[in-house]
């Protein structure tokens, strides 16, 4: 199935028809990007069970890494993206060590505060552009500078590369010791420790990897929008998107982030395109109603719904036999 999905994603923008329009390609790019971001969050929030609302901080550090490399130092975004991702991993370790002493809801609340702290810090930090943010100049487009002005196809395949990296890692993780450790800590920390799992080390590993990957997504985001300021990237609004997509798709499942993004992002973009201009937030109201209906009727997300259908199908097939 994995290779089938990869093949489908690879050929999607080449299919003639409505997917060829620039707006449809924009929706495809965002869908892949948000699937990647949510999968990065899923490593900590889904597999390890530590619900974090602070991931926009790591996302933002990655965005600023690439942004400063281009705008402040006149380099290509690549070294900035790598340095930003490493910094995000280090920052995640520093701030999560004390936070991991907190359990359940208290950990989640602490991560709320971290977003606010970083948002305020970046707003007044002159070196990173402060409240004015960083605006990209018009420079040569192409893979070197990772920016294109007339077409979205290269951005799409850039996001596809990120998708392969992050989803392949999670696929590997699921089948290896790390994945089992994460699930063991999620399902019962005391029981896992009794069996010799160092829960603190496991959680720190999870957040460092998660932050590193989220920062890479942030670097992509800034290259796509060619501007970054603190409210764009380091906000509770952005953190909530990571969480919402994963919960909608299926928390702690491999396909959940992709399914969640494939539903939420087109819904968000097309509803805004169709009704946003009417004013009064009609698009947001419809968007909200659909989320409430889906989540309340199937709390396990879309993956839960698919599993239910599969079970019923198998039961029917068994009955026929």
């Amino acid at each position: 199935m994995w290779y089938g999905v990869l093949l489908l994603i690879a050929v999607l923008p080449l299919i003639p028809g409505p997917l060829q329009s620039p707006f449809a390609q924009h929706v495809l790019v965002l869908t892949l990007l948000f699937a990647c971001m949510s999968q990065a969050w899923n490593i900590l929030g889904g597999y390890c069970g530590q619900v974090s609302f602070g991931h926009s901080v790591f996302f933002g550090i990655g965005a600023y890494g690439a942004g400063m490399a281009v705008v402040t130092y006149g380099l290509t975004p690549w070294p900035g993206a790598i340095i930003g991702a490493l910094l995000a991993a280090i920052v995640s370790l520093i701030i999560s060590y004390p936070c991991f002493r907190l359990k359940g809801h208290y950990f989640a609340i602490a991560t709320f505060a971290i977003v606010e702290i970083f948002n305020r810090l970046f707003m007044v930090w002159y070196w990173v552009g402060g409240a004015l943010g960083l605006d990209y100049p018009i420079i040569e487009e192409g893979w070197k500078n990772f920016m294109w002005f007339q077409t979205k196809t290269q951005y799409y395949y850039g996001a596809f590369g990120l998708f392969i990296l992050i989803f392949s890692f999670v696929r590997w993780m699921e089948a290896n010791k790390l994945g089992y450790y994460l699930k063991a800590v999620r399902d019962g920390q005391e029981a896992a420790e009794a069996l010799g799992v160092n829960s603190t080390a496991v959680k720190l590993t999870a957040i460092a990897i998660s932050a590193f990957l989220a920062a890479l997504c942030g670097a992509f985001f800034v290259q796509y929008n060619l501007r970054v300021d603190p409210p764009m990237v380091m906000s509770l609004d952005m953190s909530m998107r990571f969480v919402l997509i994963t919960i909608l798709g299926g928390l702690g499942t491999f396909w959940g982030p992709l399914l969640g993004a494939a539903i939420l992002i087109p819904l968000q973009e097309y509803s805004r395109a169709m009704w946003g201009g009417l004013g009064g937030g009609v698009d947001l109201i419809i968007f909200g109603i659909l989320i409430v209906l889906i989540v309340t009727r199937q709390p396990k997300g879309v993956m839960g719904f698919i599993n239910l259908l599969t079970t019923r199908f198998k039961a029917t097939k068994g009955g026929d036999d």
Binding site: S21, P22, F23, H26, L30, R120, M123, V124, G130, A131, L132, G133, D135, I138, F149, Q150, F221, N225, L226, R227, D229, P231, M232, E269, Y270, S271, R272, A273, M274, W275, G276, G277, L278, G279, G280, G281, D283, L284, I286, I289, L290, L293, I294, R297, Q298, F305, L308
Partner: protein
């Protein structure tokens, strides 16, 4: 999930999609049309301002598309432009977010096929959205975004109608110099209080530059986070430095909180001059009552300026019919109407939809603009309207009195501001 709920969700999606296509189909039904995109914050923290801007562009389009021989505005006496072409607006909402603004600008050009975009109110959104237009070599008309940076980027296709925070800062300083010369005051020390956003930060930078270039002393630089619930420490900082003059860049509810906190702490500067819509918004002035009196600020338009701009009244009536509750134009919304009217004049003058020729015409000509304070619009390289003017007004008893420059003045400024205990 039960079948019933599945049907409910599916029905909502189908009905909503059909409704959406029906709305977008209205524009396609016309034949000789020129599509113009509008991009404003129709939802989010400044939705009210965005909706006023949208209504202002709609009012301008109504004047252009229909014959209003009694309205003394260019193109009002004919129906449409280019021998019968009607302008159709395609509205988009950027929610106050730069990333949404950029993607909506792309959608308007690439998907909706608009000829030009008018927007985007927030300077932070106008920057990336107008770069979308620049890269596509398409026109972006900006009414109200005030960041001076926007017209210093060396762009060709970007045009801005409103004065910038740079020109306003210089006007503020000139006003203080004029006071010192004519009223015998001796104001030397200055402070700035501003929201920590693209708008506020940039205004503060321009203020500092203008103050220091004029040889005055810049003693207090106070930033706050927009939407703050408490400004005690910020006002204490101002009170500690006690500048003679304070420039304020505070929007909406923050402006109210700042003034209420100064009253609570029994402190006022001798003169307070304010950028943008906190001071200008008549609804906020109403909420502040007497506490808002004696503050000053720039005003591009308010009903008190109507006698200088007689053409505004009939257009304002159309504007009021498009917004609920009906309110008069304010300094921001009227600039968006001017942006639409100037663009339409340029298209009509060129006689075709050749973007390059229209851009050349926009730069080469001086445009009649009865909805602008100076009555004219002309663009310098970079797209700034060099004829943009605003007056300094002082709010007293709910009335914005014009105090500077002298040629527009209808009242003497009351300085220093009466202290809180001297007020009734």
């Amino acid at each position: 999930m039960s079948k019933r709920w599945g049907r409910v969700i599916a029905s909502i999606i189908v009905i909503a999609l059909l409704a959406g296509f029906a709305v977008s189909g209205v524009a396609c039904a016309e034949e000789k049309v020129i599509k113009i995109g509008t991009l404003f914050p129709l939802t989010g923290p400044v939705a009210l301002a965005g909706q006023r801007c949208k209504a202002a562009v709609e009012a301008a389009v109504e004047v252009i598309n229909n014959s209003y021989p009694d309205i003394p505005v260019p193109l009002a006496d004919q129906e449409g432009i280019l021998d019968g072409y009607k302008i159709v607006l395609i509205h988009a909402d950027h929610q106050g977010k730069p990333d949404v603004g950029k993607s909506e600008a792309e959608r308007l050009f690439d998907q909706e096929g608009v000829f030009a975009i008018i927007g985007s109110y927030n300077s932070a959104v106008t920057k990336p959205a107008s770069m979308v237009a620049e890269r596509r070599k398409r026109i972006f008309m900006c009414g109200a975004s005030s960041s001076a940076e926007l017209t210093k980027r060396g762009t060709r296709y970007f045009f801005r109608i409103a004065p910038t925070d740079e020109t306003e800062s210089i006007e503020f300083v000139n006003f203080i110099k004029w006071l010192n010369e004519t009223e015998g005051t001796n104001y030397k020390t200055f402070g700035v209080i501003y929201e920590n956003t693209e708008f506020g930060k940039h205004a503060a930078q321009e203020a500092k530059k203008a103050i220091e270039e004029a040889g005055f002393e810049y003693v207090a630089d106070v930033a706050f986070n927009p939407g703050a619930t408490n400004l005690n420490s910020e006002v204490q900082m101002l009170k500690g430095k006690n500048p003679d003059v304070v420039f304020g860049a505070c929007l909406g509810a923050d402006y109210i909180l700042w003034i209420k906190t100064m009253k609570q702490l029994s402190w006022l500067p001798k003169v307070s001059l304010n950028y943008c819509s906190g001071y200008q918004d008549p609804l906020i002035a109403q909420q502040l009552g007497g506490d808002g009196d004696y503050f000053m600020g720039t005003t591009g338009y308010s009903p008190e300026l109507a006698e200088l701009m007689p053409a505004v009244a009939p257009v304002e009536e159309i504007y009021k019919s498009k917004i609920d509750p009906p309110v008069p134009f304010d300094s921001d919304s009227i600039q968006e109407a001017v942006a639409m009217l100037v663009l339409a004049q340029a298209i009509e003058k060129v006689g075709s939809l050749d973007t390059e020729k229209i851009v050349d015409a926009l730069y080469a000509n001086e445009w009649d603009s009865p909805l602008s304070l100076g009555g004219k619009v002309a663009f310098a390289p970079g797209g700034q309207n060099i004829k943009a003017m605003s007056t300094i007004t002082q709010l007293i008893g709910g009335e914005y009195r014009r105090v500077f420059p002298e040629e527009f003045a209808n009242a003497e400024p009351v300085v220093p501001m009466p202290s809180w205990d001297q007020r009734k």
